[in-house]
């Protein structure tokens, strides 16, 4: 059948109820400071990886919390665990442990196995 070039767009909405937030919960259970982020971007500003690649820890934080795991799963490998983000965070988030736990969480989660 001819498709005439039309496609059906996938909705852009964050479907909070359907999204898989198990990785977020995995991190939250183990690193309570993950709750404290206010999205100021201090971590991303200090980040060497973010300077050269499309890596933003702030963005990864918020996407994982919303269960939008595709991009974080892809991006999180880029972190070099240098910890400069910990030094600037005004909310005392243990950002390095968040990255570590996120990697672990993705590994444990079948659907997001790295």
């Amino acid at each position: 059948m001819s498709k005439f070039g039309y496609t059906i767009s996938k909705p852009r909405v964050i479907d909070y109820d359907k999204n898989d937030r198990s990785v977020a919960e995995y991190i939250l259970e183990r690193e309570n400071s993950f709750r404290m982020c206010i999205e100021c971007g201090g971590c991303s500003s200090a980040c060497t990886t973010g300077k050269y690649t499309s890596f933003s820890l702030r963005e990864i934080h918020v996407l994982i919390k919303r269960g939008e795991n595709e991009k974080p799963k892809e991006q999180i490998r880029k972190c070099m665990l240098c910890g400069k983000c910990i030094l600037v965070c005004p909310r005392g988030v243990n950002t390095r442990n968040v990255v570590f736990l996120a990697k672990q969480g993705f590994m444990k989660s079948d659907s997001y196995a790295i």
Binding site: C40, G41, G42, S44, S45, E59, V88, R91
Partner: protein, 341 residues
């Protein structure tokens, strides 16, 4: 009423409390550690949100506190306070031992020492200044870089020493956002060609006419607002400042060269207040300000009956709120003295 009250601190809170107490016929002794009363208002040129000259408010306060029944001792601090029965015995730094029926603590705040946020380079780079330094420039009528040149781009950093676990201050200082907006407008008024950028985490414009001032800054003065916490300031080879920040709404790191960087220093419990807390046995809270007996209905009362609080020694507040808080402190003192009769 034949009663005597000691007021510690001669800023807006202390002067207004003294004035209100004197109206009730109470003898007030006010001690001020500096040579002049008026506190931080002396260091400010124009006040938010209406940008009136600070001297008008200082004139009101000095007029109100110059009446009968008020004795002001400048260059004086309190060295000792002890409660004997219903009286307080206190000693001043001048060595005088005196008696009071009640004490009002109005020791105010200190501005956050911005050099503590080393990554912003205050005290390292010549053109990194604080909000207080900028007010001095406004007063002199010229905004110049250290080399005497006129800046063409100025950045303003919000929340310096506020909302920052790294310096131990979890609270919001409340006044810095509106001060940033006010100063951004004033820079644009002085220097029509100068671009101004405010770097903020949240714009907290919760006071009367604050949000309107924010709108005016955008609409009339073309001030730019970028949402992100500046992580550091550095210097380029040609001596310009360069800052790093994430433009969180664009989702990408941003760097920008600037001629001048203005740090919005937050408010902290004053060193003088800490001394008073220690000698008088007064409770301080997690944020190091004095802890009132109750935050809802007794925020002028301390843990010591007969000692009261007025103004920013309890929490950051603007001049309007400080004056209201001072008036309620005076009312609390009067009802306390009446009950002690």
């Amino acid at each position: 009423m034949d009663k005597q009250v000691l007021v510690i601190g001669g800023g807006a809170a202390g002067l207004e409390t003294a004035s209100q107490l004197a109206k009730s016929g109470i003898e007030v002794t006010l001690v001020e550690k500096e040579a002049v009363t008026g506190g931080h208002i002396n260091d400010w040129f124009k006040l938010f949100p209406d940008r009136r000259d600070s001297k008008e408010v200082l004139a009101y306060l000095s007029e109100a506190s110059s009446g009968r029944g008020i004795t002001i001792h400048s260059n004086t601090t309190i060295k000792e306070i002890t409660k004997k029965g219903s009286h307080f015995l206190y000693t001043t730094s001048a060595g005088n031992s005196l008696i009071a029926d009640a004490v009002v603590v109005s020791t105010g705040f200190d501005l956050f020492r911005s050099a503590r946020k080393e990554e912003y380079g205050y005290g390292i780079y010549d053109n990194v200044i604080t909000s207080a330094d900028l007010e001095k420039m406004f007063r002199q009528g010229k905004i110049k870089m250290h080399n005497g040149e006129t800046p063409s781009r100025i950045g303003i950093v919000h929340c310096v020493g506020s909302r920052d676990e790294k310096v131990g201050n979890l609270y919001c200082s409340k006044l810095c956002c509106v001060t940033a907006v006010k100063q951004a407008i004033e820079i644009r008024e002085h220097l029509h060609e100068c671009q101004v950028f405010c770097f903020y985490m949240d714009m907290r414009m919760g006071g009367a006419h604050y949000e309107e001032l924010y709108r005016e800054a955008q609409e009339k003065w073309a001030v730019s607002f970028i949402r992100g916490k500046v992580s550091e300031a550095g210097e380029t080879l040609n001596g310009r400042l360069v800052i790093k920040v994430e433009d969180t709404l664009a989702g990408r790191p941003l760097k920008m060269e600037l001629d001048m960087l203005v740090l919005m220093a937050g408010m902290e419990m004053s060193e003088g207040g800490k001394d008073v807390a220690e000698i008088a046995g007064l409770a301080t809270g997690e944020n190091r300000f004095f802890e009132p007996a109750d935050h809802h209905y007794a925020n002028n009362l301390s843990n010591v009956p007969g000692i009261f609080y007025a103004g920013t020694c309890t929490a950051p507040m603007n001049i309007t709120d400080t004056i209201s808080h001072a008036r309620s402190a005076a009312a609390e003192v009067v009802s306390y003295l009446n009950s002690e009769k």
